[in-house]
């Protein structure tokens, strides 16, 4: 028997850290107890049900779905703003819930958040310099001088003029505010930024500017993004891997090519067909799905999409479809998929 060539051993030791994803969700579930004093309902809202996902370093995971599908809750659990009811959120393999206070503090600076509404997410009484500096002050370990220099550098990187740093958020346009949000998120040099609908409130021209900036920063800093959006064109453009969510569950996931060229789930197909394409006269398939999103506190039995699915049968009401493999990294949970699964086996 031959010994392994030396470089393979080296390769293995290098491969070891990359094998642990930067961020992983393992069978994560989040329930909210419904109602307040006035509410009589007792069934909890099942915002996220048994979701498993991974984000590799330097890549973008896009989560797409309609309002109420649980995508924002998922994002908030990744940042640590919400704790899962069940399952684990792991940063570099370590469960957030099992971390010591010091570890959790450190991990907080590794995962930052960028919000949809740049008007609501910036403190109106702080100057831009102070807003961007704030996470650095919280983190500590830097002198005032060092912080100031870093704030200038962050402003330049995100396309803000240094002369603007003394201004207040109200003096800025929507696009500029979103640049401030990005600069603030970058301040603690995180490995992952959770971006919840970062460009939804912006005009098309400004949207392109922010998306360009996000792409540049990702390449420069080896950043990962968890991009949450209802906009398929944005997800298609920026995500390396996409997960489609419906009523708290992932119905399909895969690369942009896999999902857009050959979607397996009827919901994915319907989402793609609903994108209003800027091409006049292009024949638009009539929207196949009808009706409304069912209540998350009483989701349909079996497949949660069955009440709106054009292909649903009795089986779909009886049995929840498991995720099956449709290609390398391409999975969907459907009894009657649009394409043939690669294996009949169920993926755990």
């Amino acid at each position: 028997m031959k010994a392994h060539p030396p470089d393979s051993a080296v390769g293995q030791s290098y491969a070891e850290p990359t094998a642990v994803p930067l961020m992983s969700l393992v069978n994560v579930t989040k329930h909210y107890r419904a109602g307040g004093v006035l509410s009589r309902s007792v069934a909890p809202v099942q915002a996220v049900s048994d979701v498993s996902l991974e984000i590799a370093a330097g890549t973008t995971l896009g989560i797409v779905g309609e309002s109420g599908c649980g995508k924002s809750t998922l994002g908030r659990m990744v940042v640590g703003l919400e704790k899962p009811t069940d399952g684990e959120v792991r940063l570099r393999g370590a469960a957030l819930a099992a971390m010591s206070r010091a570890q959790r503090r450190a991990s907080r600076y590794d995962v930052q958040m960028m919000f949809q509404d740049p008007y609501a997410s910036l403190n109106p009484r702080m100057t831009l310099a102070r807003i961007i500096e704030e996470p650095l002050r919280a983190k500590g370990g830097m002198s005032k001088q060092q912080r100031k220099a870093l704030v200038r550098q962050l402003a330049e990187e995100t396309g803000l003029a240094v002369s603007q740093l003394d201004r207040y958020p109200r003096e800025l346009s929507g696009g500029q505010r979103q640049r401030v949000g990005l600069a603030r998120a970058l301040a603690t040099s995180p490995a992952l930024i959770v971006a919840d609908e970062p460009v939804s409130a912006l005009d098309v021209s400004v949207r392109s500017q922010i998306l360009n900036l996000m792409t540049e920063l990702q390449a420069e800093h080896q950043l990962s993004y968890l991009m949450v959006s209802h906009d398929l064109t944005v997800i298609h453009y920026l995500a390396d891997h996409i997960a489609v969510m419906y009523l708290g569950t992932i119905v399909e996931s895969g690369s942009p090519e896999q999902l857009f060229q050959a979607p397996a789930h009827h919901y994915t197909r319907a989402l793609i067909d609903a994108v209003p394409e800027p091409v006049p006269g292009r024949a638009r398939p009539a929207s196949a799905i009808r009706g409304e999103l069912p209540s998350a506190s009483a989701p349909p039995s079996g497949c949660r999409f069955r009440t709106r699915c054009p292909a649903a049968t009795a089986l779909c009401a009886d049995q929840q479809p498991a995720l099956r493999e449709f290609g390398a990294g391409h999975r969907a949970a459907c009894h009657f998929p649009l394409t043939e699964p690669r294996t009949a086996e169920v993926v755990s």
Partner: protein
């Protein structure tokens, strides 16, 4: 697709000034616009271009700190300068309005049936029973399931998409000739948006009303408008047949807007075309073309003189250096300063 005869809406040289404490915003500056019977005209532009103010002016809903000059003829009747009482009559019977957020248009404490039938009660003195019956018919027409049950529900009991259907029903209950829809689907999910847009098409066929569709979404315009009116800095930049505007835009602003739209075909993480800078401050009057600071083709003449409207047939633009039809659209891909 424009119908013969009198247009439903004829706007001529419309100006709207909004008086603020220390300044005046010239929100609409000399807009001339025509909407034919049964026609859908899309009004597009970035935020701050005056498109919503134009919509409010046409609906007679401007606040008291505004001054309106020019003419608005609705079905051959001048409505600019009408008093509030007369305007109220026009709204509802001649014009229906749908806004972006259905929750702001609906009264949260009133049952849906009452709200949808209200215009009919006020405008044509219908009895409670008549208004209720008409409301049920209308809810059925806009695709609300089990309309009779819905009459007694409150807005908060419905989803966003269903609420928007209720708003549309209320706007159309008196069968107005013109519907003004200001970003009617922006707050909705994609699949709901597709359903509401389908509904507009269906209602247009059934009721034959003309529609002014105000939106920032080029995709919505492409699929649903017969003609497009591109607004920039309170003025017309370009108007024309939807296909023509999308295939061969002549104004540089239209071209830049279309270039910066993200499409499903846009290559993954490729550098996107943008429009550098931002729309101008409308409190300041400028001599030349307002697009000059952001325009890739601007010359000296552009900053001293406002281009007149020129064009061929129904396709008009306000530009000294229109993009050639054969030429690839210039796209400016600089980062803003």
């Amino acid at each position: 697709m424009s119908a013969p005869g009198t247009p439903v809406l004829q706007v001529t040289d419309l100006e709207v000034d909004i008086k603020l404490r220390r300044s005046v915003v010239h929100a609409v500056q000399g807009v001339t616009l025509k909407v034919g019977e049964g026609e859908t005209v899309g009004i597009v532009g970035e935020s701050g271009c005056g498109k919503s103010t134009l919509g409010l002016a046409l609906a007679g809903l401007l606040p008291s700190n505004t001054a309106v000059r020019g003419s608005i003829r609705l079905a051959d009747r001048e409505v600019a300068g009408l008093r509030e009482r007369e305007l109220r009559r026009v709204r509802g019977t001649e014009v229906g309005i749908v806004f972006q957020d259905p929750m702001t248009s609906l009264n949260p404490t009133q049952r849906i049936g009452v709200q949808v039938g209200e215009t009919l009660r006020v405008q044509s003195g219908a009895s409670k029973a008549e208004a209720r019956a008409a409301a049920a018919d209308m809810l059925n027409l806009v695709g609300l399931p089990r309309p009779l049950e819905q009459l007694d529900r409150f807005p908060h009991e419905l989803s966003g998409g269903m609420r928007q259907r209720v708003v549309i029903a209320a706007a159309l209950v008196c069968h107005p000739r013109l519907l003004i829809a200001d970003e009617p689907t922006t707050a909705l999910d994609v699949t709901t948006q597709a359903q509401i847009l389908e509904l507009f098409g269906h209602l247009r066929e059934t009721l034959g009303m003309a529609t002014l569709l105000i939106t920032h979404d080029m995709g919505v315009v492409a699929g649903h408008a017969d003609r497009v009116f591109v607004m920039y800095a309170g003025r017309e930049a370009e108007t024309g047949d939807t296909a023509e505007i999308f295939d061969a835009p002549r104004h540089r602003y239209t071209a830049a807007l279309l270039d910066s739209v993200l499409r499903l075909e846009t290559p993954h993480k490729s550098e996107l075309a943008t429009i550098p800078g931002r729309p101008p401050d409308l409190t300041v009057s400028t001599a030349g073309c307002p697009f000059v600071p952001r325009c890739p083709a601007a010359s000296g003449q552009c900053s001293t003189e406002l281009p007149a409207i020129s064009g061929e047939g129904d396709h008009h633009w306000r530009c000294f250096h229109p993009a050639d039809q054969a030429e690839d659209n210039l796209s400016a891909a600089e980062a803003p300063r």
